[in-house]
């Protein structure tokens, strides 16, 4: 009996102004209505007396909450029906292990110091962590840590690489080669350089989305100072042959920049074996935080860049600005984990793509944008003819995907990448990009197969184009109003 009393002692009770109060925690699904807990004074100063009142107050509370217990089921349903995330190529959630590391770099107890402070232990600690992260990044890529410069992300890395090299080497030549299917962070920089009297050649991909090395060879000239191409295309997942292209640029003495935002940590990259001079990276595509990236700048043969930012001389003067320790540590940890998990991740992604494609390939008028053979399995882009992409995304409301459809873009233009592949506009409008990642579950992919099939056939049911196709009308021969 005494044992029991001790057990019950003070449970649900707390003291305020010398009076005992009862407090009951509210379940998560009712918090919006009732707050975090229910509280009521027992009006007793004596614990013994308060204990006597406690139970009646508690049952009063429980009755109050149980009236709304039907909300529980709807909350749980909502939670389990939560939208499936198939947009990893856009961004990824931060790995819990990364978050833990980052947290250690923020508070007074943590490594909050400025890594540029050379005069005290706070600075030294931050510097140590920054350098450890740099080593993690270098290890994943098999390069020297001194070849890694921190930036705010792949967009800044692309800007720094392209503008930095173009400006520094402009006396050697003003010709740049890139492709029509690069990320905007490369294309818009090239457009800007054109305004500054640089000449840019935009290579066409083949129908699968690959930039043939021969096309680089054909376009390269004596005054070509830079070639900038991506490793994995963000829209269609297609891989370029960086090794072959590197041989061509090296032979010509041309700097080779590669945007590896989609590929770092996902496929093996060995910079000691590639003739790549500059490579852009991002943390948030590989389970690190947003707002941090890096640029690889080769030391041998040495590549020099004109800086974009000037200031405190950080990063050997190439990129001034106080280093964000927590971001850098997050990126370092994400890259370290990526090295450990790359093989497992890759196998899972390959399996997911197979499940999706095998489930959908027998549908009529379905096209792969890109290719399975040359494609990274985490990004899979398909077109469902006669169905507009945005409407399909709306129909797939519990699946987060993206589309090359004009209607999902602010510009109302369909994907320039798909158009460059030679896809007709209507197929570009009908495209959907599925991108899987580390936290994707097999069941999610399996469920998606049926959902896509149903939604596509529902939308075709209301599509006049599908009707014409079924009637055997050639859509290309119609004069559209």
């Amino acid at each position: 009996m005494w044992y029991n009393l001790l057990e019950m002692d003070k449970k649900y009770l707390f003291k305020r102004n010398n009076v005992w109060w009862v407090k009951l925690a509210v379940p998560v699904y009712l918090r919006e209505k009732f707050g975090f807990d229910l509280r009521k004074s027992t009006g007793e100063k004596d614990l013994d007396k308060a204990l006597l009142v406690r139970d009646s107050i508690l049952s009063e509370f429980k009755a109050k909450l149980s009236k709304d217990s039907d909300q529980k089921s709807s909350f749980e349903t909502n939670f389990s029906n939560k939208t499936t995330y198939f947009d990893y190529a856009s961004t990824t959630p931060v790995d819990e292990r990364v978050i833990e590391k980052m947290k250690e770099c923020l508070s007074f107890e943590g490594a909050f110091g400025n890594s540029g402070s050379r005069s005290h232990v706070y600075g030294w600690k931050a510097e140590e962590l920054v350098e450890e992260a740099r080593l993690n990044v270098a290890n994943l890529l098999n390069c020297d840590p001194r070849e890694i410069i921190w930036t705010s992300g792949a967009t800044e890395s692309d800007n720094l690489a392209i503008k930095g090299a173009a400006y520094f080497y402009q006396s050697k030549g003003r010709h740049i080669i890139t492709s029509k299917i690069e990320h905007k962070a490369v294309l818009d920089v090239c457009r800007q350089l054109e305004k500054e009297n640089f000449e840019v050649s935009y290579l066409d991909p083949n129908e699968n989305g690959v930039i043939p090395p021969q096309a680089v060879k054909d376009a390269i000239r004596e005054d070509t100072v830079l070639v900038s191409l991506m490793q994995i295309n963000n829209e269609i997942g297609v891989l370029n042959d960086i090794e072959q292209i590197g041989l061509i640029t090296r032979e010509n003495g041309t700097i080779f920049h590669v945007d590896a935002a989609q590929s770092a940590g996902k496929i093996p990259i060995d910079l000691s074996n590639l003739n790549v001079d500059l490579m852009s990276f991002s943390a948030h595509k590989i389970y690190g935080p947003k707002g941090i990236g890096a640029l690889y700048i080769r030391r041998k043969p040495r590549v020099r860049l004109q800086p974009l930012f000037h200031g405190g001389g950080q990063e050997r003067g190439i990129r001034a600005g106080t280093l964000p320790t927590h971001q850098i540590v997050g990126m370092g940890e994400a890259f370290r984990i990526a090295q450990e998990q790359m093989e497992i991740d890759y196998k899972r992604l390959t399996n997911f793509r197979s499940i999706l494609w095998n489930g959908l390939k027998d549908m009529e008028e379905v096209y792969i944008n890109g290719s399975i053979e040359n494609g990274f399995p985490g990004i899979f882009n398909m077109s469902f003819n006669f169905v507009e992409g945005e409407s399909l995304i709306m129909a797939l409301k519990n699946i987060a995907v993206s589309s090359g459809s004009a209607c999902t873009s602010a510009s109302l233009e369909p994907s320039y990448v798909l158009r460059a592949l030679g896809r007709p506009d209507e197929l570009a409008h009908s495209s959907i990009r599925f991108s899987f990642g580390r936290f994707t579950k097999k069941e999610e992919v399996e469920n998606t197969v049926d959902l896509v099939k149903n939604s596509v056939s529902q939308l075709r049911e209301i599509s006049p184009l599908w009707e014409m196709y079924q009637d055997g009308i050639d859509l290309d021969k119609i004069e559209w109003a």
């Binding site: 169905v387 709306m394 004009a406 007709p424 409008h429 599509s463 599908w466 009707e467 559209w480």
Partner: protein, 140 residues
């Protein structure tokens, strides 16, 4: 971009119950096809095509739209706009239908600025369908 609940509801309703939402068509050879006017607007390359059909009857000397059917290829708001147009057409005289403005659809569906062209497409579709119907009459 977030749509209004009205667009979402109209879209989902159309998808779930196409027949109830007047999705369908009248084909040549169907009984009464001579009383159906058809308007097709838009282009696949632009991302939306709307096909609208109206069936008219002469009631007390005036041609009234007694039934309408549609099919739409396009984004969610294009589909919702065509469904909305259909709701507004039934029972109207051709003259009344001719005067439906795209702004009414914009207001009812609370279309975002970037999607106003969907409602314009709907307005064009009804104009074409009426013209088509009138040309049939002239051929009688």
């Amino acid at each position: 971009m977030a749509y209004s609940q009205k667009v979402v509801d109209k879209f989902e309703e159309t998808l779930k119950n196409p027949e109830g939402a007047s999705v369908g068509r009248w084909k040549p050879g169907d009984k009464d096809f001579h009383r159906v006017g058809t308007g097709i607007v838009g282009a696949p390359a632009c991302g939306d095509v709307m096909k609208l059909q109206i069936k008219c009857e002469n009631i007390e000397g005036e041609n009234r739209i007694v039934d309408a059917r549609f099919k739409t290829y396009g984004c969610g708001s294009a589909i919702a706009s065509s469904g909305q147009l259909i709701d507004m057409l039934k029972g109207k005289t051709l003259e009344e239908a001719q005067n439906i403005s795209n702004q009414e659809i914009v207001d009812i569906l609370e279309l975002p600025a970037i999607k106003i062209h969907c409602s314009v497409l709907a307005e064009e579709a009804i104009h074409r369908a009426i013209d088509d119907f009138k040309s049939l009459r002239n051929n009688d």
